[in-house]
Point group: C2
Chain length 161, copies 2
Amino acid sequence: MAEIDRMLLANEEWASRFPGALAARPARAVAVVACMDSRMPLFGLLGLAVGDAHVIRNAGGVVTDDTIRSLTISQHLLGTREIVLVHHTECGLEATTEQAFADQVEQATGHRPPWPVRAFSDVDADVRESMRLLRESPYLLSHEVRGTVYDVATGRLREVV
Amino acid sequence: MAEIDRMLLANEEWASRFPGALAARPARAVAVVACMDSRMPLFGLLGLAVGDAHVIRNAGGVVTDDTIRSLTISQHLLGTREIVLVHHTECGLEATTEQAFADQVEQATGHRPPWPVRAFSDVDADVRESMRLLRESPYLLSHEVRGTVYDVATGRLREVV
C-alpha cells in the first residue's frame, strides 16, 4: 500500500474524533522554525495544543528566503510575535559538506544543485546564525527570537544563549 | 512568561517520559510537505508515529527552492522515496494577493518584499501545480508524489486527483 493510502485510512479515524474547528490565528501568537527530522513531533515535545502555533520546517531548520516569507506572512497576516527555533543533535546536515553533497546529487542524477545544501558542523553556532538572520530581516514586525537544540537521544530541549 | 519558557517547561515532562532514541532515516521512507497552519497536527491527522516521516512545512505548503533543497536531502541522504503534499481549506494565502500583501508589508515596515508571497485562489489547482513542480525537479531520485487537501472544519483529508 502506498504511504498516502495508509495516511488517508488513518485520517478516517482522526476525522471521526475531530474536536471541531479553530481560528486560523495561532492562539499563542508564536511561530516555530524547526528541522524536518522524523524524530521531532513538535506538538508533543514543545507542549503545543492544536491551534497554538505556526510550524515551519525544512532541512536543518535553517533560515532561507522561504523561512522569511513564511514568517512575514505569519506576523503580518496572522498575528504571531515570537519565534522559536528548534535545531537538534545528530542532524543529517552535520554529516555532509557543500561539496560532498553536490557531488553525490550530481553523480546520482546528472544535475548539480545550484543552491547551497546549508551543511553545518556546530549546531549551536548554526542556531545563533539563524537568530542573527532573523533579527536582521527588514520584513518582520517582531524580531523576538530565541533558539534551542533538541537532543534526539534524550528528548530534552536546551536553549542556546 | 515568554512562549519559549512555557515550551522548555513542557519539554521537561516530555523528556521524563521519552521512549528512547530512533534512527534518523524515516521508517516509512516518506516526506510530507505541508502548510505551517496551526490547526494541522500532522502526526495525528496522518496517523504518523515518531520516526516515520520527514515533515517540511512553509506558508501554503508550496514548492520553493527551499522545499526542493529539503526533499533532495531527504531522498539522497536519508532514503525517502514518496512525497505527500498537504494543503488545506481556509488558508491565509487565499485571503490575500501578491500586490495587497507587498503593499501591507511595505506600509508596516518601509520595506517591500522582493519575493512572491505565493498567494493562490484555488487550493486544488495549487496542489496540482506543486505536484508538477516536484515531478519536473531534476535533483530528486523519486518523483512519486501525491497531493491532498485537509478540511480544517471537519478534520478530513481528501486526495487531489
